[in-house]
Symmetry: C2
Subunit: 160 residues, 2 copies
DNA sequence: TTAGGTGCAAATCTTTTGCAGAAAG
DNA sequence: CTTTCTGCAAAAGATTTGCACCTAA
């Protein structure tokens, strides 16, 4: 937790940005909700708990900044708001989403199944890949009354 | 062309919707630009050529309707506008996107590479897939000064 | 005839910006 | 100090909605 903040602080400073209290609060919120895909408004409300004087515009600016520095991912699930999530430091690009069309939950899955496909795309389409976004739409285990799949790991919420 | 319109007309009528001139013009625009990924505003401007009295709100309403009926795909490439494209009738779900981070062009590729992956997701994550969205971000053949890859087919524009 | 559609303008919602006043390094 | 930030309120876009008037089937 603290070490990750420290690392992000370094990253900011390397680019001549300051780690203000507002930015730190924002980063903490993201860190504490790594499992979720928060909208700017979501983040704003959570940030207000830590630093009540923070303005919404600042949250937007911070999220944009963090996305530029590739500290967070900005995503769009088609519900009219951008959603943000921390890029966890190891498994970059091995990270896809399951969007439930019934309850709207977004689960994350981690796999590197696309590696072979990426190679083919690069070759056959002369396209130099830097990133990808893969979202499966469908019905999640909750909505079809199944137990939580082992692959998803323990239910979120308590860590940090 | 005409037969596809006829089929869409049937589909609408099956759901108690009418094929008004405005809707027909919208469908024709989508049909004539199958290769592209038009925004609502784009569609609106093209529809005005065919049916000048049409309002923007109607275009939005039509696109939403067509998306509900799964006649078009509504997509979000992160540039702040929704983009729409006809679901061509056969190769459903075998259809991905290459988004160039330099020129912004979106190319379509067709492949069923994900079939095996979908099976694993369904089994290992207990997730019943209905659809997926796969976008590769990177640099296209144009921006890296290469020739058009064969796999992409002839340059668009003239068909129908 | 009548349920479903339409255009227009106003309303909503998300995100961005201008600016004068802070504050981090 | 000086450059970078911040809050606020206003602006900008995209999309939706209310309403009185049409029109496809």
């Amino acid at each position: 937790m603290e070490d990750r903040i420290e690392r992000i602080k370094q990253l900011l400073q390397n680019h001549n940005y300051k780690l203000t209290p507002q930015r730190e609060a924002t980063v903490r919120v993201l860190l504490e909700n790594e499992e979720d895909h928060l909208s700017a408004e979501d983040v704003f409300m959570l940030v207000k708990d830590k630093a009540p004087e923070t303005g919404l515009a600042t949250v937007y600016r911070t999220l944009e900044l963090l996305a530029e520095l590739q500290i967070v991912h900005k995503m769009n699930f088609g519900d009219g708001v951008a959603r943000y999530d921390l890029r966890s430091e190891n498994m970059e690009r091995h990270h896809h989403h399951l969007l439930c069309i019934q309850c709207g939950t977004v689960d994350e899955i981690m796999d590197n199944w696309l590696v072979a496909i990426e190679e083919r795309v690069e070759k056959e389409y002369k396209f130099q890949i830097t990133d990808h976004r893969l979202v499966f739409h469908g019905v999640c285990y909750r909505c079809s009354g199944k137990s939580r799949p082992d692959r998803l790991g323990v239910d979120p919420g308590l860590s940090n």
